[in-house]
């Protein structure tokens, strides 16, 4: 279980810019093996929230606990998939996927065996010796996903992982991710700005407000699992999407009014 209590993060002022309140006291609980999608306008501190759970930023107030343990640094129980893939350009697919295992001191033979398994699982068999720039964006993110899963984390944090790929590839990646997560029993926290993506993947949706960011609304998605490919035609899906849109629109309008 991931618990966030009053999590606050302020980036100090620099170069004459005023300080930025990235997180203004966020409370959120994610149950073990739950898939939670976080939706919110861009620049509302979603990435900072992920980094807080990851243990990559120091908090100004509040705390993050995982199974009761206070989080202060990255740990073996968590792995992250990055928006910009963050692959090592000088390393081939095999080395990239095995990177986390390498850091943990796993022997070469063992980590290549594991990496090969995950490369196959994400559908990149035969590309082991390719370099990132020889791959399309979608394939690069498959590498990023395999790298995260290879360390066998209990918690998977995903930061708009499919934001940088085209719509068709995105759809394929979503379907494959659903299939991979179906039997994985992992806790997943998925940040996105796409309502469809959130509804397709999430068991629960969390909306975040514009800065200073707070959790504004939580919605449980009562759609069947495994989600069928045509889940978008489900009346409940359409209804939820409409509801989300109203919520997000209200948030955008209120901030727009606030700015003007």
């Amino acid at each position: 279980m991931i618990e966030l209590r009053g999590v606050r993060k302020v980036y100090p002022s620099h170069d004459g810019h005023p300080p930025v309140i990235a997180l203004g006291g966020v409370d959120l609980t994610i149950q073990t093996q739950e898939i939670v999608c976080l939706l919110g306008p861009s620049g509302c501190g979603k990435t900072t929230l992920l980094k807080a759970i990851m243990g990559l930023v120091s908090l100004d107030a509040g705390e993050v606990r995982i199974d009761g343990q206070l989080v202060s640094a990255p740990g073996a129980d968590r792995a992250m998939v990055f928006q910009n893939f963050a692959l090592l350009p000088w390393a081939d697919v095999m080395t990239n996927v095995a990177f986390g295992l390498d850091l943990r001191g796993v022997s070469r033979a063992e980590r290549e065996l594991k990496a090969r398994e995950w490369i196959r699982a994400v559908g990149l068999e035969g590309f082991e010796r390719h370099y990132p720039r020889q791959l399309s964006g979608g394939m690069q993110q498959r590498v990023g996903l395999a790298r995260a899963l290879a360390v066998n984390p209990t918690i998977l944090l995903m930061d708009e992982p499919f934001g940088a790929v085209d719509a068709q590839t995105r759809r394929l990646l979503q379907e494959d991710l659903l299939a991979l997560l179906e039997h994985s029993r992992k806790t997943v926290f998925f940040v996105t700005h796409s309502m469809e993506e959130a509804l397709l993947l999430g068991g629960r949706l969390v909306l975040m407000t514009q800065r200073p960011s707070r959790i504004r609304d939580e919605t449980v998605v009562r759609l069947p699992r495994p989600r069928p490919p045509d889940v978008e035609k489900d009346p409940r899906f359409i209804e939820l999407k409409e509801y989300l849109w109203q919520q997000l629109r209200a948030m955008q309008i209120s901030t727009a009014g606030h700015d003007g």
Partner: protein
């Protein structure tokens, strides 16, 4: 499980194809009028590199000028080559050449070792960078040879002067390039390594150093050229050992043939050294190449 594998494979090939084309375009642009892979378009079926044609033309021009002009300071190329061969065959050049290479090895080795260490520190720690950069920029621009009198006072009349000049000639280029190399490693890669729990040590060996390699190796390649030049100048100024000393003694006797012959040998040394560094560079930074197989 993946059906889109088949769709994605051609995409990958496409990306490759594009980067190949880019590489070609760049090579073409660099050579101006010439055709593919640096061959002159006037002789497309011969496929002779333009650089070879240009060199041959230069040598012929030199040869003809040497014979016809009859200038004392410009002996024909064939005579210079003959003299160089003679110097090598008689063993006359062997001792000075070995002396030069020994200084080069010591000076360049020290420049690379210390340069890498300082460059890494400067790239990783902003404070170190801000404190040292003005000095480095100043030294990079300064003619190292001007320091020879100071070195003379410090080291006395010894080979250390040559070694020190070679060191200074290469050191600053290595430092600045290594620093830039470390700094230009993608912040996203550094953050990713942190997220996967990398220690500072692991970050250095597995992310910063490999990421910095293309610029670092370029620095080493530039430094070897500077070092060879520094070697000859220092040897000429403090005429104790080496090719430079030989160059100076023949120069004093206006023996143009031998001067040019030794210059050929020096250029040969520079080219061989630079070629060796380039081979190492290509092997280590294949990933950054535009034309990956």
């Amino acid at each position: 499980m993946m059906d889109d594998n088949a769709n994605m494979a051609p995409q990958a090939e496409q990306t490759q194809g594009r980067s190949d084309a880019e590489g070609e375009g760049r090579a073409k642009a660099a050579l101006g009028q010439s055709g593919e892979d640096g061959t002159l378009s006037a002789f497309p079926h011969l496929r002779i590199p333009a650089s070879w044609l240009s060199l041959t033309a230069g040598v012929i021009a030199w040869e003809l000028a040497g014979w016809w002009a009859g200038l004392g300071f410009l002996p024909p190329f064939s005579r210079v080559l003959w003299t160089a061969a003679g110097l090598i065959a008689s063993g006359q050049i062997v001792t000075p050449l070995l002396a030069s290479l020994l200084s080069l090895l010591a000076g360049y080795g020290a420049a690379v070792t210390l340069g890498l260490a300082l460059g890494v520190l400067m790239g990783r720690y902003r404070t170190v960078e801000f404190v040292l950069t003005p000095y480095l920029e100043a030294f990079l621009a300064a003619p190292k040879i001007a320091l020879v009198p100071v070195m003379y006072a410090v080291f006395g009349l010894s080979r250390l002067i040559q070694v020190a000049v070679i060191f200074l000639s290469g050191f600053f280029v290595v430092v600045l390039n290594t620093m830039r190399g470390i700094q230009t490693v993608e912040p996203a890669c550094v953050e990713m390594a942190h997220a996967f729990g990398a220690t500072e040590r692991q970050l250095f060996w597995k992310v910063l150093l490999p990421g910095a390699l293309p610029l670092t190796m370029a620095g080493l390649r530039l430094a070897i050229g500077h070092a060879v030049r520094g070697m000859v100048t220092a040897e000429m100024l403090v005429a104790l050992f080496g090719l430079g000393a030989l160059l100076r003694s023949y120069g004093a006797r206006f023996d143009a043939e031998k001067v040019f012959a030794i210059l050929l040998v020096v250029i040969g040394v520079a080219l061989v050294c630079s070629f060796m560094v380039q081979v190492a560079e290509r092997r280590m930074t294949r990933w950054a190449d535009t034309t990956l197989e």
